[in-house]
């Protein structure tokens, strides 16, 4: 557009022109603001969460060094880290602290533990929620896990190695499927535990509706009193949103405890643990 008029006038184009132009400017501005928000939600929150996560990681290391005494989790405050999760299949450097609680503040730091569920290594269900998009997105690639992938939980004294349970299409003939896969040696199908198949709905990967709070029950998808505590398998359950960028459903990963390795046996070193469990 040529600038025939002196800047500062609208060239006598009238009020209608001014209204239309201002409206257009507002629309363009709104578009830019929306784009900025996308940038914020998917990138800026990652930077903030990365900062929180690294602070949390340092605090946890410090706490474990200070208090090597017996017992754990006795004085964990909401939002405070008490364990770490490693998933070697998602990268050698995949490592997050696990906070107590699944509220927004805890999940901004990293994965959060459902407070009413079991502690790491205990019979029952150690359940953890995490973001799939934004805020560090620790559980972004959870859908890539396959059966027998390791999920390592580090507490003050132990490494607990959980492995993803057989997937829906594998569980039927699990003994055949896992044949020749050494990583699956300790992974049961859980189909022969107790009567009425208490673990009949527990498979490695599930998509459920958001109201299925029983996905984190001691025996998933069964009433609390299905099995006595001593008969319960020691499970891990990871939950995140599904599909990506939606809250329509939840992606659930179930795993079972296969090994407990005291940290002093591998010098407290994760990489030596990977050697030890054949994941290196």
């Amino acid at each position: 557009m040529s600038q025939r008029q002196e800047p500062g006038t609208d060239g006598g184009r009238g009020a209608g022109y001014l209204v239309v132009r201002t409206f257009g400017e507002l629309l363009v501005t709104a578009g830019i603001v929306v784009l900025l928000f996308v940038f914020y939600a998917l990138y800026v929150t990652n930077w903030t969460s990365a900062q929180l996560q690294s602070e949390s990681d340092e605090a946890l290391t410090e706490r474990w060094q200070e208090d090597p005494g017996p017992g754990q989790g006795t004085s964990v405050l909401p939002g405070e880290a008490f364990a770490r999760i490693y998933i070697p299949a998602l990268g050698e450097d995949y490592r997050y602290t696990i906070q107590s609680g699944v509220d927004a503040d805890a999940l901004e730091i990293g994965p959060g533990h459902y407070p009413q569920t079991a502690q790491p290594g205990e019979p029952g269900n150690f359940a953890v929620a995490g973001h799939r998009n934004g805020q560090g997105a620790p559980f972004n690639a959870l859908d890539e896990l396959v059966s027998c992938d390791a999920m390592v939980i580090e507490t003050d004294r132990d490494f607990f190695v959980y492995r993803v349970l057989p997937l829906a299409d594998e569980v039927g003939d699990w003994d055949v499927v896992r044949d020749g896969r050494p990583e699956c040696a300790g992974v049961p199908s859980l189909r022969s535990v107790g009567d009425n198949e208490p673990y009949g709905d527990t498979i490695g990967r599930k998509i459920v509706t958001p109201d299925r709070a029983d996905a984190v029950a001691p025996v998933p998808y069964r009433p609390q009193d299905t099995l006595s505590r001593i008969d319960q398998a020691a499970l891990i359950t990871l939950t995140t949103c599904h599909p990506q960028f939606s809250d329509r459903e939840r992606l659930i990963i179930h795993g079972v405890l296969t090994q407990q390795i005291p940290k002093n046996q591998v010098n407290g070193d994760y990489h030596r643990l990977l050697d030890h469990i054949g994941e290196a």
Binding site: E25, F37, A41, G134, P210, D211, C241, S246, I252
Partner: protein, 50 residues
């Protein structure tokens, strides 16, 4: 709207440009530090628990 703001900025063109840049930066800071953090928890994909 933007032409009106530009016309009401004081000083010669370089100074006006500087003030305009500062104004844009201030608006972005307000969005990033106050408005977006308030809005963000309402996003659907932040619901990750059952």
């Amino acid at each position: 709207m933007y032409a009106w703001i530009w016309r009401h900025l004081p000083g010669p063109t370089p100074l006006r440009a500087l003030i305009a840049v500062l104004l844009i930066a201030a608006v972005i800071a307000l969005l990033m530090l106050v408005i977006f953090p308030w809005l963000e928890p309402m996003l659907p994909f932040n619901q990750v628990a059952v």
